[in-house]
């Protein structure tokens, strides 16, 4: 967010004022074009004299050397080595308002320092380099260090060389108790146990630290910790993020990321599988799950949305996220115009867009968790269960269909009786009521408010069973025959959450009559008979018999009955039956019965037999078999519903066309473009396909200057708090140049040469002396380098949101260390979702999970509703996951203090910590206090600290002894219950001590 040069100028300003050394260093040091000059040109000149041809003034541009130095009719903006002839210098120095550059109305005047830099640069020969991050990565040789007592690996030689230049000394190694806590947090996101600390403290072997590092890298907690940084970048969440913000099932992707880190998948494959796993030959299930990366964008199904607009937004999000997280390129700007600062054009943007625009699925999510394309992920056990049910169903079905002598005989009798009855009826009665097969169409999604009142699909039109309808998500649905639907049972095989379905049948009546029917619906219902609305009921309920009774005024002949079934969430279905002995037989069956047996086709015989056996027969063994079949089918579908799924990428057979969109507007098509990588970067290497797979190979090809740099910088940032390039998301000319360019390139080159081995990279960094330094600050260091950009000390900063909560759970013994699975909802204050949620959303009401195995899991697994993220995360700078975030801010606020002190989850953890310690049977209060101290801090306490803790305990004990109700109140907070055999006042007093510990600056900080 700010430029490194600002730091330097800031420092320069200070030191110039105080006559310090910086100015001398500046004067003696050669200017570096990329570090010193380009940022000035970029920030102050490019907007009118840069890559954007449309905005370019006077045909002059400073983003290209040739153009900047070109002869413009006798004058040149920059004449190397000649300040007097360089119009650039003349104009920036001008005191004439109409002449001076940048113009005053641009509101970005140059500082005297900046002008000085420009002058020196021109007089020194105006040496030009290409933008640093677009230059190929060449592995630099680490600087030679004369005194190498401090350095441990190559990283340190780069760091020390810079420190020497700045006349600063590095810090010695942090004490072992600080170091093990730091590295354990950095590699697993959790604190070390006192035993782990002790082992390290007494381990005198030279590789003691390395063995700790190796142990941590092997832990499954490593993958969980590494994953969450990536999930910020990948904008992973558990809801769609826009409008209704309904549940989205996506957690298998989150688990894939965890697993990828744990099995140390090379970063190269990490990139390829996420961008193009579906295009890999014989893609595995895991590789398909990985493509969820490009499905994590927020999506909508807001009523009234214009499909093309949403499609464009979805693709733009994918382009922007992909280019940001992998390349550190700010492509967003080029959506509407050529980049003002970097050599990226609109055409580049939409050519890149063309790689991501051909997903085989609808842009609108339908407010469904399973926004296609999806992948269902049955476990081995679930697959076996389904297979078993399928086998049993097939066998039983065969049995039901098979030979039943008694049943067939009874059927013959029934047929004869029916024929006789028909004939008799024809004489004195026009005939029986005939109920034809059901048909259904839907679902028609809509906002809850309009589901019932608004006309959907077939409503208000003459029924045409051949008609097809467009749903709100632009899917085409058609009438579907439901021959298997039997009356008198609830049909729950309709689909669609917050959607309407229609069911329809023809009733043939021999005469004009009123027939009473019983209806049920989940949820609301409208009844139309012969296009006339007979009933409209707006309710929320599960379907059951006899919820509504209705007299159908049938006319003679064909009557059309249509029910609109409206679902406000969850399952949907309906019930229909005739009441008062009204009987009916499907017309087709009647027709078959009327045929002579030898005149029937095989199919008709089967249909008749099916009807008789399913609906008429009372033969006990058959009825039992049919019941059993039904129950098996229900069990099967219950298992089926439990199968997790995840959103994935699947490419359309034919790619969609892509166009330059003028001003970025979805409906303003300009020139048609084809897939192409940005012109300023190397092309896709020969032999690779020109699709996402080729793009993924291109990103990880040796020729690509950005991917490795961006990746190592992000990992560095994770450990050191800030990247070597502070703007981890922007490696363009508006981003900051690296503080240690050679170190960045050395890390990037080594990373690539190691086959993109992330664990090896992490190990190199945490093994360095730079990382292992003491984080003690001196006033001098604060003055010189408040942000620790030079790494003259070890990293020290507040733990991230997840680490804070996980630490509390871990030290208290509550943490449930289970890998993966669907997201969980630990308690949060009431009403947070409701305060913002759309009334019809399926995430409008928060219901906390119950049970330790859900509420005490690592924060990585906490359910993220993107329009109302969990306060435990957002209060500590955790992002909402609505958009890609490459680095979190780190704030220090009173809201954080309130949360750590008062959030029931933290109060419960304090109590559990106290309880855990009391259960461990330490003999004295001093030992108890020490045990709690060590659980939280790792290190041993000083006598002063210990006596303060004990004093705290004594004071609180006195308080709670005098007020047992208060004690019970405090220890009653939380999900887990208190053991009955504890002294309540003691536990409450220790709980307060534990809360004190969990709020210590040293505990909430990585030291």
């Amino acid at each position: 967010m700010f430029e490194y040069r600002t730091v330097r100028h800031f420092c320069a300003a200070l030191l110039l004022v105080s006559g310090g050394v910086w100015s001398q260093a500046m004067a003696s040091q050669a200017l570096d074009f990329n570090r010193d000059v380009r940022p000035i040109l970029s920030d102050h000149c490019y907007a009118c004299h840069g890559p954007d041809a449309q905005k370019r003034k006077a045909g002059l541009r400073f983003d290209q050397e040739q153009a900047a130095k070109a002869d413009l009719g006798g004058d040149a903006a920059i004449v190397a080595g000649n300040i007097a002839d360089s119009v650039l210098i003349e104009r920036v120095l001008s005191e004439d308002e109409d002449e001076v550059m940048p113009p005053p109305e641009f509101k970005k005047p140059l500082t005297p320092d900046q002008i000085e830099v420009l002058k020196r640069w021109v007089s020194d020969g105006a040496k030009w380099d290409n933008h640093w991050s677009f230059e190929p990565i060449v592995r630099p040789v680490p600087p030679t260090i004369e005194d190498d007592r401090w350095t441990r690996n190559a990283v340190d030689r780069f760091v020390l060389a810079r420190l020497t230049e700045e006349e600063l000394d590095p810090q010695p190694e942090a004490s072992r108790d600080v170091l093990i806590r730091r590295v354990t947090f950095d590699l697993t996101g959790l604190p070390p146990t006192p035993d782990e600390v002790d082992q390290f403290l007494i381990d005198e072997s030279p590789d003691a630290y390395e063995r700790v590092v190796d142990r941590l890298l092997r832990s499954s907690r490593y993958g969980e910790h590494m994953a969450r940084f990536w999930l910020d970048a990948a904008r992973y969440g558990d809801t769609h993020g826009l409008h209704l913000d309904n549940y989205r099932e996506m957690w298998p992707y989150r688990d894939w990321v965890v697993e990828a880190f744990n099995r140390n998948l090379s970063y190269r494959d990490f990139v390829i599988e996420q961008l193009a796993g579906d295009l890999l030959p014989n893609a595995t299930r895991d590789q398909l799950v990985a493509t969820g990366f490009n499905r994590c964008n927020v999506s909508t199904s807001e009523g009234g949305s214009i499909k093309e607009e949403v499609y464009t937004r979805n693709v733009v999000d994918r382009v922007v996220t992909t280019s940001t997280v992998f390349m550190g390129l700010t492509f967003e700007c080029t959506r509407c115009h050529d980049h003002k600062f970097d050599p990226l054009t609109m055409k580049d943007f939409y050519s890149f867009f063309a790689y991501f625009n051909s997903i085989d699925g609808e842009p609108l999510d339908g407010n469904r968790k399973e926004h296609a394309p999806i992948l269902r992920l049955p476990s081995t056990f679930q697959t076996q269960q389904i297979e078993r049910f399928d086998g049993e169903i097939a066998a039983l079905d065969e049995q039901v269909q098979g030979a039943w002598k008694e049943v067939d005989e009874a059927q013959t009798l029934w047929e004869a009786g029916l024929v006789a009855a028909q004939e008799k009826a024809k004489e004195d009665d026009p005939g029986a009521l005939v109920l034809n097969d059901w048909y259904s169409v839907g679902p028609f999604g809509d906002v809850r408010l309009y589901l019932l009142p608004r006309k959907h699909g077939p409503e208000g039109k003459a029924i045409d069973l051949k008609a097809s309808f467009k749903t709100s998500t632009d899917e085409i649905v058609k009438w579907q025959r439901r021959a298997a639907w039997k009356d008198g049972v609830v049909h729950s095989d309709l689909k669609g959450d917050t959607a309407a379905n229609f069911v329809y049948r023809v009733i043939e009546s021999p005469t004009e009559q009123r027939v009473k029917v019983s209806l049920g619906s989940d949820d609301g219902i409208k009844v139309y008979l012969n296009q006339k609305e007979l009933l409209s009921k707006d309710v929320s309920r599960g379907a059951a018999a006899d919820q509504e009774f209705l007299d159908l005024p049938l006319k003679k002949g064909k009557n059309e009955l249509m029910l609109k079934i409206v679902n406000y969430g969850g399952n949907t279905g309906f019930y229909f039956s005739l009441v008062d002995g009204a009987s009916a037989l499907p017309k087709e069956i009647l027709k078959i019965v009327e045929l002579a047996p030898n005149a029937r086709t095989e199919e008709q015989n089967a249909q008749l037999r099916g009807h008789y056996r399913n609906k008429e027969s009372t033969f006990p063994a058959l009825v039992a078999a049919i019941e059993q079949l039904k129950s098996l089918r229900e069990k099967r579908s219950a298992v089926d519903r439990e199968i997790p799924l995840t959103l994935v990428w699947k490419e359309r057979a034919e790619p969609r066309k892509a166009f330059v969109l003028n001003r970025g507007e979805y409906d303003q098509h300009g020139e048609e473009v084809s897939r192409r990588t940005p012109g300023a970067l190397p092309p896709i290497p020969e032999g690779f396909p020109n699709n996402r797979l080729g793009l993924a190979y291109w990103l990880t090809d040796e020729s690509h200057p950005l991917t490795a740099r961006v990746a190592v910088n992000r990992y560095w940032q994770q450990l050191f708090g800030l990247g070597l390039v502070k703007t981890a998301e922007d490696f363009g000319s508006q981003g900051e140049p690296p503080t240690h360019p050679a170190l960045l390139d050395w890390l990037a080159a080594s990373f690539r040469e190691s086959d993109w081995d992330v664990k090896a990279l992490m190990k190199t960094m945490v093994m360095s002396a730079s990382y292992r330094q003491s984080s003690k600050l001196t006033p001098e260091l604060i003055e010189r380098d408040p942000e620790n950009r030079l790494f003259a000390r070890g990293p020290r900063f507040r733990l991230d949101a997840e680490m804070l909560r996980d630490q509390a759970l871990a030290v208290s013994g509550l943490l449930v260390e289970r890998l993966g699975g669907s997201s969980v909802k630990p308690p949060q204050p009431d009403g947070l979702w409701f305060a913002v949620g759309y009334s019809g959303s399926n995430t409008v009401k928060f219901e906390a999970d119950k049970g330790s195995d859900k509420v005490h899991r690592r924060s990585l697994y906490t359910f993220i509703k993107r329009t109302s993220p969990p306060p435990q995360m957002s209060t500590f700078d955790g992002p909402s996951r609505e958009a890609c975030v490459m680095r979190r801010e780190r704030t220090n606020t009173p809201m954080q203090a309130l949360l750590l002190l008062n959030d029931p989850q933290f109060v419960e953890a304090s109590r559990a910590l106290a309880e855990r310690m009391l259960m461990e049977a330490h003999e004295t209060d001093s030992k108890r206090a020490e045990r709690m101290w060590r659980l939280c801090l790792g290190r041993y306490s000083t006598p002063e600290e210990l006596s303060d803790l004990q004093a705290a305990y004594q004071d609180e004990l006195a308080f709670y002894r005098s007020d047992l109700t208060a004690a019970r109140g405090l220890i009653g907070v939380g999900e887990t219950s208190v053991r009955s055999d504890v002294d309540e006042a003691e536990l409450a007093a220790w709980t307060t001590v534990a809360s004190l510990l969990l709020n210590l600056d040293e505990v909430v900080t990585k030291n």
């Binding site: 993020g241 909508t300 809850r448 600050l777 006033p779 009403g831 957002s874 209060t875 909402s880 600056d1001």
Partner: protein, 483 residues
């Protein structure tokens, strides 16, 4: 004060003086310093901590989420009556895009408002009978009838007007103010949000935390949601069994330990943490004091209407807003939901108007009586307007309206806004603007301007752009509105 902090403050000021002309310099510099150093100070430099002398020190934004129907409230169109159920001329619609909720309609029949309008005040502003109290105070307001936006659906539109961008990820108006202007007080947050109940249909459009989020700004600038049940501010209450005295004991001990840590590591953040725990403690008493309305005299409560003492109502929120302004909270935003009347306006709209009319009036009068209106800006409005043509069934008595981004009204009052003004004009159908269009970016630029901020100079580098609340195109404060 801790010497390091003292040092920073000195240096920061010196830097501001030196770089006074740099504009962004101040804001950019801020992130280099420990955040607490700037506590209570704006980042903009200059004598007032702003770009120029501010007309308003604080602001209240009454946001009507869902898009109120301008034709039935503030944009009087008498000619529509005789056009009842006739088709909207194509020459008016000009092929403009529609939401897919009505784009399939075969016709676009004109639905005149069934409500009576009368002229009020010096400026003769037309106000409908649904807003009798608003009508009484038109001489305090600048009514702008010509605000427009590009977004046509709720989520992008409300995100746009609140954060300057249709997609999530940017900083909200209030967080920009907190970031740019700093805090006016030591006991309360800079930016407070309330989400009261509403009386229209219960199925209302959603809100999103991003509307008061800090986006790319540090999270300390995000709006703090003041809740009407449970803790007014999250986790404000001590756990059961912990009273103020025992909390005080804990904080004193905590400070003792943290002082040692400060000595040990020398990190200024430790001092900040000590200070923030103290502020948390102060908030524990100042916020209950703020939300406890028992000290409000009856005549004041009565002014806000019968629901003023009912927690969580719009009226109660307005009264709380005034109490916050008195206590120097910088920015208060109230999001009143339920304005999305696609169908049956006469059933819902009167209830919605009743919710907000008297209390909004009372808020402006109350501020005025106390002399606070002079330097408090009040803004009222939604994310877009509604169509002149009917959605769904049309009768004289019953009609609905779809989304309409091309014109909608807002009003502003107080802090440096011309009172008694009606600005901008729409055509006979309240469909297109014919005079003085005000883009939502212009509106936001106007708000910033009144608070002493040049909207072009309040920016932050994000994704390679100098991101501003008001976007990259040419926009600016509406000069005609400025007093």
């Amino acid at each position: 004060m801790n010497p390091v902090n003292q040092y920073y403050q000195t240096m920061t000021r010196r830097h501001f003086f030196r770089q006074g002309a740099m504009g962004l310099g101040g804001a950019a510099l801020a992130s280099l310093l420990p955040k607490s150093v700037l506590h209570g100070e704006g980042l903009l430099g200059g004598a007032h901590g702003t770009h120029f002398a501010p007309k308003a020190k604080r602001a209240i934004y009454l946001f009507m989420a869902g898009a109120p129907s301008q034709i039935d409230m503030l944009d009087y169109k008498p000619g529509l009556d005789r056009l009842f159920d006739t088709d909207l001329p194509d020459s008016v619609r000009q092929g403009q895009r529609l939401t897919t909720m009505t784009s399939g309609q075969t016709r676009f029949p004109i639905a005149p408002s069934k409500y009576q309008f009368e002229q009020h005040g010096q400026a003769g502003a037309w106000v409908s009978e649904l807003l009798p109290y608003t009508a009484k105070m038109v001489d305090d307001l600048s009514i702008i009838r010509s605000v427009h936006t590009e977004a046509i659906n709720h989520d992008p539109a409300i995100t746009y007007i609140c954060t300057g961008h249709q997609l999530p990820g940017r900083a909200s108006l209030g967080s920009w103010l907190s970031y740019g202007l700093g805090s006016l007080n030591e006991n309360l947050p800079d930016f407070v949000v309330m989400t009261p109940t509403w009386s229209g249909r219960k199925t209302a459009q959603a809100l999103y935390n991003r509307l008061w989020g800090s986006g790319f700004l540090p999270s300390k600038h995000q709006g703090v949601a003041l809740r009407s049940s449970g803790d007014p501010v999250l986790f404000l209450s001590n756990p059961e069994g912990v009273d103020a005295a025992s909390r005080r004991r804990l904080l004193d001990r905590l400070a003792r330990f943290n002082e040692r840590t400060k000595t040990r590591f020398g990190d200024p953040e430790t001092q900040t943490r000590i200070d923030q725990y103290e502020m948390a403690f102060r908030m524990q008493s100042s916020i209950p004091g703020l939300t406890d309305l028992s000290d409000e005299p009856d005549h004041v409560v009565d002014m806000y209407g019968p629901e003023a003492k009912k927690p969580g109502t719009y009226a109660a929120s307005c009264l709380l807003a005034r109490r916050m302004i008195e206590r120097d909270v910088r920015f208060v935003q109230i999001f009143h939901r339920g304005w999305d009347q696609h169908g049956n306006i006469p059933e819902d709209l009167p209830n919605q108007c009743r919710d907000i009319d008297q209390a909004s009036w009372a808020l402006v009068q109350d501020l005025k009586t106390r002399g606070l209106l002079e330097d408090t800006l009040v803004i009222w409005g939604g994310e877009f307007g509604r169509t002149v043509y009917c959605q769904g069934k049309l009768t004289r008595e019953s009609y609905g309206r779809d989304h309409h981004p091309r014109c909608f009204p807002m009003w502003m009052a107080g802090g440096g806004i011309k009172p008694g003004m009606v600005y901008g004009k729409t055509d006979d159908f309240s469909y297109n603007i014919v005079e003085n269009p005000v883009h939502i970016h212009d509106l936001n630029a106007t708000i910033l301007d009144r608070l002493g901020i040049d909207h072009e100079r309040l920016s932050v580098k994000f994704q390679g752009l100098d991101v501003r609340l008001t976007g990259v195109e040419e926009h600016g404060p509406v000069q005609a509105l400025l007093a």
